[in-house]
Symmetry: C2
Subunit: 320 residues, 2 copies
Amino acid sequence: TAAMAPILLNCLGNDRKEYLEETFHVNNPNLDGMEEDILYHFSLGTKTHNLPEMFGDIKFVCVGGSAKRMKAFAQFIHTELNLPGSNDEPKDICEATDRYCMYKVGPVLSMSHGMGVPSISIMLHELIKLLHHAHCRDVVLFRLGTSGGVGLAPGTVVVSEKALDYNFLPQFEQVVLGKVIMRSTELDAGVSRELLQCSKELPNLPAVIGNTMCTNDFYEGQGRLDGALCSFSHAEKLEYLQRAYEAGVRNIEMESTVFAAMCRVCGLKAAVVCVTLLNRFDGDQITSPEDVLVEYQQRPQVLVAHYIKKRLALIALTPP
Amino acid sequence: TAAMAPILLNCLGNDRKEYLEETFHVNNPNLDGMEEDILYHFSLGTKTHNLPEMFGDIKFVCVGGSAKRMKAFAQFIHTELNLPGSNDEPKDICEATDRYCMYKVGPVLSMSHGMGVPSISIMLHELIKLLHHAHCRDVVLFRLGTSGGVGLAPGTVVVSEKALDYNFLPQFEQVVLGKVIMRSTELDAGVSRELLQCSKELPNLPAVIGNTMCTNDFYEGQGRLDGALCSFSHAEKLEYLQRAYEAGVRNIEMESTVFAAMCRVCGLKAAVVCVTLLNRFDGDQITSPEDVLVEYQQRPQVLVAHYIKKRLALIALTPP
């Protein structure tokens, strides 16, 4: 890691410059010269679909791992925004593929991204291209997820300050043509603060701001003792979790670093809002009853819906 | 990478010793002492389900990224094995969750694993535990996937000799409690040879044995010029693909290294069989018509079904 420091600083420098421009942009000069852009994993394309008409009014993109959960969020936000029409069977815009699901509800896009960094990375590349082709402006992205808690009561919502790698560093390691580069994983501090404020306005929504560790697997990488492979002791697990806690880590999940890094490079405001399903100091298996887990998983949705409603009220009040 | 060589050799040494025992085993002394093991991402558990009764007779596990494709494979293998009953609506054993789908067809398990190393890694941990709890013996695992070809005509099936990382090395980098360890990604040479032989017995099934590169993303890591981010030229892309070709790489996908590594550590025979959807020297976008792509994606299924039928005929001929 020490050897990578110069690369890191160099890349953060570049990213920061781009970020300060504060306009959303793809970082690929090739795109606008392409005759057609097929968003393969969405089953959408610039020739087959009118992307500006379909998506041009989007202001909020909410993503999460599970297809069922993001369909439920589409139905929930439809009710919360008092939109006309039925929300019984929202249409999956990506129904021609089973890679992801996608629902549009007024200015809100609700999408699933599967599990892990590579899966959400494919989704983000094609989502950011979609927002570009559709000429969207001032979009905020939210990841609404589940996670393992580190020293928190189950059901606590963690709004991520920074996404950290397994060394507790705020960076994402990206391979480009066989070379490793580092990208910063800082998130939008303003949106995080507003989300924490929103949590205080809601009943039954315990929330904290803390760091989120992102790993590439659920078992050995997160120090679980119950995988098919395990070569460490209970004491070594606790020692690692304790070091994570001391680095400000309050939860562990599997997508936040690349989500933060890609949004940051493209000048998109982003927040990560994950509920904890267990306290990893107390165990590894998720043993809460189904109805309790379902209620926990609604908490990030309730919080982000509240934020979106406040924002839309503000937009409505602002003269054009 | 040079600094990691001692770790690599050390780990390969351990893994090889375990592999030579040639019996399938989980590598976790904690498991058998657990009162209950919840396979959370499958919605199965040792207390709630009779795993030996449900899964004890499994001999072949076929996994692939797409849920729709693995459902189609379940229907296809049902017909191919002349099993009784209807295959119109196979039952998804994991229907209580949307993380993966799972179908059992006689001695064959067909499962989806989503996209990318972390997604298939969660599936493999819980699958290997399932096979362990169910007391399965002599199981062979196949990954049936899609990939980008390197110097091959689209539609060619690649049976992987080795799974390589982005440096073209046959190793998988696993983080355990914040430390990087390396695992070997060699696959079963015998099964691969038999699969190549099977391909020669089938019409319209062009197949080769070659190395498979596994990456953590679909765009920058595979040298695509059409992602949301791209910082390299067409010439640099071609130079990287050329180096891959010279290292024996014939296709690129996103799951093979961890699949090979985990199966190897647990003494499970494994093969990777992926069809190429395009030749990456010629382009990045997948532009073939839908019906052509569907036929390509059936090729690994046809090949592995043929292998399974030959194997079952052999088992039937062998005295107990």
